[in-house]
Assembly symmetry: C4
Homo-oligomer: 328 residues x 4
């Protein structure tokens, strides 16, 4: 496993990392989480991504228990969380200040809740999970700064923010001498490239932005498993993931995936490994967050690290020819 700096910061992340979205506390219990985290760590993974909203806080509980049992030195691993959605039930109409917001009231209470669930004194990375047009960016920047000043987090960033909003947060922090955002967590895969490759372009140099990218497999589409429709045991078949089905069964994209098969075969790797390695090949990417519900799947995903150096300019061009016209 190789390591990369998180943007221009001094923190180094494994180029492949492990996320808990979808899986922890849903498909994966504490023992399984512990087993997979241990395997990832043994393979060199040092970044474990999480969010308050994953499994409504239970993903943090599971990871917290696993970390406690694993007893790794605190310097050796990096844990994140993210805030925006909140934990309140959608039926709790009075929770409007704690749902889909980045206001100060929510953020200051959210971090304390996450640290308690994770059983940690601090998280390494804290993300604003989505932009909130209903809160001034300055209010959010102050709250993130205060989290860091109070020692509850080390670095802060954004997830799925526009280039303009990220820039605004950076400039406000610079002007008021506050801790600046360091990283962004965007979706990035063969069919979703423009934000990372075009829109954020100036931010890499101007503010040293680092990326922790998610969904390298396009929710599974890039594994080829949706070529014949939605398999029963797939994510697309889960009731709470129904919103993914239209994208997963996209005809032209599945056809392109089929055309990627010989490319993968030529490299001696699976489609999933090809897709993960492709995302990690972009030097702007600090780490590609992978997910897994089974140990074998995790190990297969992490083996993509060996594919990265095989992605020569020629291979990349072959991939572009198949997929670029379908990418947004």
């Amino acid at each position: 496993m190789n390591y990369r700096r998180l943007g221009r910061s001094g923190l180094q992340l494994s180029e492949l990392s492990l996320g808990s979205w979808v899986t922890y506390a849903n498909q994966v219990d504490i023992d399984a989480a512990k087993e997979m985290m241990a395997a990832a760590y043994d393979a060199g993974v040092n970044f474990f991504d999480n969010a308050e909203a994953y499994a409504l806080g239970q993903s943090e509980v599971v990871m917290g228990e696993a970390l406690k049992a694993l007893k790794w030195p605190r310097l050796n691993y990096v844990v994140s969380t993210k805030f925006y959605l909140g934990l309140a039930s959608p039926k709790d109409r009075m929770a409007l200040n704690g749902r889909a917001t980045l206001n100060r009231k929510y953020l200051m209470q959210a971090i304390d809740g996450s640290l308690k669930r994770l059983q940690l004194d601090f998280v390494d990375l804290v993300f604003c999970h989505r932009p909130d047009p209903g809160t001034p960016i300055e209010e959010t920047v102050w709250a993130m700064h205060d989290m860091i000043s109070q020692g509850k987090a080390l670095y802060w960033g954004t997830s799925e923010w526009s280039a303009g909003d990220i820039r605004a947060a950076y400039e406000i922090a610079e002007r008021h001498h506050l801790h600046k955002p360091v990283m962004e967590q965007p979706q990035y895969h063969l069919f979703h490239r423009k934000r990372v490759e075009k829109q954020y372009l100036r931010l890499y140099d101007d503010m040293g932005l680092g990326l922790t990218t998610w969904s390298p497999l396009a929710s599974g589409l890039l594994t080829g498993k949706y070529k014949q429709g939605v398999p029963d045991d797939s994510r697309g078949a889960r009731r709470d993931m129904a919103f993914l089905v239209e994208g997963l069964t996209h005809e032209a994209k599945n056809a392109a995936v089929a055309k990627l098969e010989p490319v993968a075969a030529d490299l001696g790797c699976s489609l999933a490994q090809l897709a993960i390695a492709w995302a990690a090949k972009n030097p702007r990417v600090s780490t590609v967050i992978t997910g897994a519900s089974k140990l074998s799947q995790l190990q297969s995903n992490l083996a993509a690290a060996d594919v990265i150096p095989k992605l020569t300019p020629e291979v990349l061009q072959r991939i572009d020819e198949i997929t670029l016209k379908l990418a947004d």
Copy 2:
């Protein structure tokens, strides 16, 4: 109940809210406070206004006990307090640094006292209850900033400050990179409009000022109950409220109130509901603080929320024709 952002901040308040002035610990004990707060919360009210000076601290004690009993999630409600008058007895001539002041000595001790009485770790909103020409605005801004940095309050603002003083506080905070004032709590009703509608005009856009307005009923004048003089069971008859009598029995204003009765009748609402809805109709107003000493009164007041959409431009003009010449 609808919700509005507190000015440009990310915090959302119910358009009608519940204040404890005059009533708590005077006419209302803990059980009654609990009952009324519960009813307000059930109706969608999420902001409960308070001040150190209300009933000399007892209003905070009562609300603190009620909140403790009600066990609402902390994210679901917003509590305020205000500092300026202090709690010292007027006979305690040595308490001059803790009375009618916004100096650092008083403010830093006052917040600790309020949090103890309220049994809270923090208040959401903290107000400078009146301007203090005897303390530099910069000294007050620093103290309010320190309260927020220390986590004892989330947002700060002013009450009954001039536009110039609010602007000064904002600019000083901006220059020294301190937490800025977010809201103002002015008196606002049909007979007291100029501050909100004229003097503060630039502040809404320039600094995103939010308003939590008080006295929508002009101390009861707008309910029509003072048309025939001061009833025995009214606020105007209370010895400690004697200063209100002159205003409450103002002849021309009571005549105007009488002329508002058919307007209310046409809308199918009471005079009080009309007055409350009128204040809330102003989009600059974040929330209208209402008071009540009885549950039935509270419910009647909150029903004003349904009147707000009925205040068409035509109705507003009818109201203006009756009241505008009498308003300051």
Copy 3:
């Protein structure tokens, strides 16, 4: 007793206040301190001046015990301390970083020691007791700012600093957005006027500097008691005060004091009361610190408050004619 703002700050001090220099723990024990502080408080005094160096910390111990016994509300009194000299024995040659310095190491340890001796959570005023040319003003400003940010003191200032150094401290704090100095404690009496009346002139308006002046009686010279030499029971006869003798027996000054006697007689007051009232007459002075080793002396000194309004322009001119040529 009248009260004045400490310069432009929002803190109000009694125009006459009580200092513990020379007396506490030397001539005055805890019981006597308590008795005199109670008498001063009853007379309206709200400021009690102290310093780490007075009686090598024992003056703070005595005042702390007295305050504890007196149980006044914390808002009702103002306590100061001062740092520069340190508490180390002159024989302790290794204590050079804690003696005659305003470096960060000394200051950060000194405040903790003072608070412990005073049994207080914070002092209201903290002074840099003398200038330290061996420490950059910026280092001292940062340390004083940190004391205030940490809640260990409310306001900071200087004592016997030059106008240029005070200005430098103010400008450095302004530039770096730190807590600014608010007050200065200079010697001020009929024979020592230029610093207050000339050198600091611009500072009053430019930075709102307040003054807490010391030695209104010029160490006793202005009481007239040294006209015939040094009495056995006077401060001038104390071995540790020998450095004062030359000044106290100055022939021309004692002659001038004799000429002030009819002025005092015309006002119906003592020479000491005249001198104290004269210092307090200057509107730039926030408070005149008086000292006393006996209750009767304290009461006589505080009665000078009644003399202040009697100092008409004519009386002040008479006093100037006698003393101005001898003043530095």
Copy 4:
């Protein structure tokens, strides 16, 4: 022993001080450390230099135990530590964020570890032990500022940084109103002069940089003991110091050392004393850190203080003629 200000700061250090590199926990146990520190303190030494990396944290443990036993007043001594290398085993490949770095994650955890090992509430001086091109200087400056704001250290500086990097740290701190670096710890001896004498030249005036220099004896070369090769009981013979051998047996340098012998003899001192005194003669040097594994060696080194005034311009020129052409 004379004392000098640490650059333009208000802290004073003994011109000769005691370091624990190489020796503590390796050649020196707690009892010996205590004995030598007591002897140094008796000779006037007030600065005891340390680093997290010396003997992998054990040097801090030894010094902490010795300090605890010696019971000196905290104001009387100055302790340093340094961060960069980290304590992780080179075999722990997952510790990459805690090894050879100045990132925030490492620094914030490192200071807590050092304070625990030293059994202190704060260190006086904290150094960035080496530059880290893999972390932005701004990230490091913020972390050092936070250490000082939190009271865990009093002054911060660098060790073996280039003039440009030191300047950058200073300017970033100035711009963002953070605590600025105060000192640098460079190697400085007769054969290694350019950094101190040329490269840092502007920094002394522009930012008041102080120097705590190390290796005055060039790892022993300047004692003359390597003239005939590496003695069995010397540092050069230690396996973990093998990297020093080439430098220690440099022919021309050892020949120069031989020519310095008559210079030392004329001054009535040893070669080691001459070399230590020479480094301390530079007024830009705040203190020369000396090391010792035996009490007699310590006492001999400290006696170099008496040699400093004997280094007249003529003597210094004689020394330059012998060594300058060999110095880098």
